[in-house]
Amino acid sequence: MTYTGWILLTASLVGLSCGIVGVFLILRRMAMMADAISHTVLLGIVTAFLITRELNGPHMLIGAIITGLLTALLVQWFHSRGVQQDASIGVVFTTLFAIGVILIATQVGNAHLDTKHALMGEIAFVPWEVMNVPLLGEVPKATFMLAAVLLVVLVVILAFYKEWKITSFDPALAASIGIPVVLLHYVFMSMVSITTVASFDAVGAIMVVAMLITPAAAAYLWTDKLSIMLVLSGAFGVISAFAGYYVAVWLDTSISGSMAFATGIVFLVSFLLSPKHGVLSRYLYRYERPDQEEQQIDAVS
């Protein structure tokens, strides 16, 4: 495959995994947790690097899961002891991220890992870091890891689809019929963590938040069906990846920045044009009374 081909494939894998995971982040009202985990996985990556002296897939994934869960647990722990949820998220993630930054600056030195790389990613380098995969030949490491993570995400989402749905919509009912709501919460946090760390190399800690949140938020505006929202969100992620890459080539600018910008454009278009929630349709149908009011008027008369 060509250099451009690998970059587009890698970015599309980021768009797909983040898009799918992002749907549940939005529906569970946990967008802020994505922001938090995308930063704290840095600590996991640095720690894994310090222990193994390698920037390899499995170690990084394990480091990311541990710090992701640590973030979720700490946020919950402070919150249950009277700290407001958003304040708790803000305190926990900045502190863990700061530890990561200090460790990079003092312990890691000149390795591939530096703060700018961690924040912005460097997808342009991805095709050069290859590994040998049986049957497929030489594949960039980051691409292989993303494909593996996407597979895990798809299997976990599909296998427990109804559990994700009910715990997102009505956790109290879910718990009352015996579904392990808390366990699923931490499984989900682990999925967010591995998706983030796999996307990290390609787009970095800040842009991965855009990929997690924005396509899902746009998809939410187009449909009233969860399954369609998942498909749309993944598709928006891929579209943003392609558009972002070509805009970056055209303007000769940061690829990850352009991709995040492209997600913003997709969202803006959705916000203006979507048939159900869009600004335009609201304007066009502003004189139509929604069902709700009719019903209430019926009830009164």
Binding site: G82, F160, K165, F169, A172, D291
Partner: protein
Amino acid sequence: MSVLKVQGLHASYRKNKVLHDVSFEVEQGSLTSIVGPNGAGKSTLLKVMLELHPKLSGDVSFFGSTLSQTKTRVGYVPQRGSVDWDFPTNALDVVMMGLYGRVGWLKWPNKSHKEKAMASLAQMGMADFADRQISQLSGGQQQRVFLARALVQDADLYFMDEPLAGVDAATERAIMTTLKNLKMSGKTVMVVHHDLQTVEDYFDHVLLLNRTVVAHGKTEDAFTKDNVYRAYGGSLRFMKEA
């Protein structure tokens, strides 16, 4: 036979004690309203009994056993406001959720689950709205969907948190008919209720709650002026004026 037995239940939110030494027993086939002022711990009582909120001490037994062993026999209708009605799903799907506990791990709901859910929707007069996105339903219709979801669970003991709050008259009638039918078929229902005017018409038992049990028993015995005043303290007068 008592289907529910609560003994010496204590619970708190953060540092505030919400439930203090709550004890009562509920007989099979009764339709009980849980009545009390704001902050009396009505919703908390339901959540603590269902182990959705931790208790400090006390015992709750269902059908002479623990909750974990009788989960399929206990149904819960949370407050309508507790969920996000903009969630991308339709009425039928919400009702199907009542069956998820029974579908089992790694399995998808099948045709028979769907038929059961449709039947429950029809029972609540909502068959025509099965495919309607839930945010497009009125408050009363949303509440009916919640009731349909409880019916599909086919439980023996139901807890409902303010099912009549903010619904239209037609929905109120539909819900009360359903509750009475449940009672007729030998089910037991406990309902958090806010409208003192209708307690005597709607419920055969009443549990007056204000952090602890003020009175509990048949409506004609327990729902006396004295007991209501004791449960509400000074706040009742203001409520009636309002």
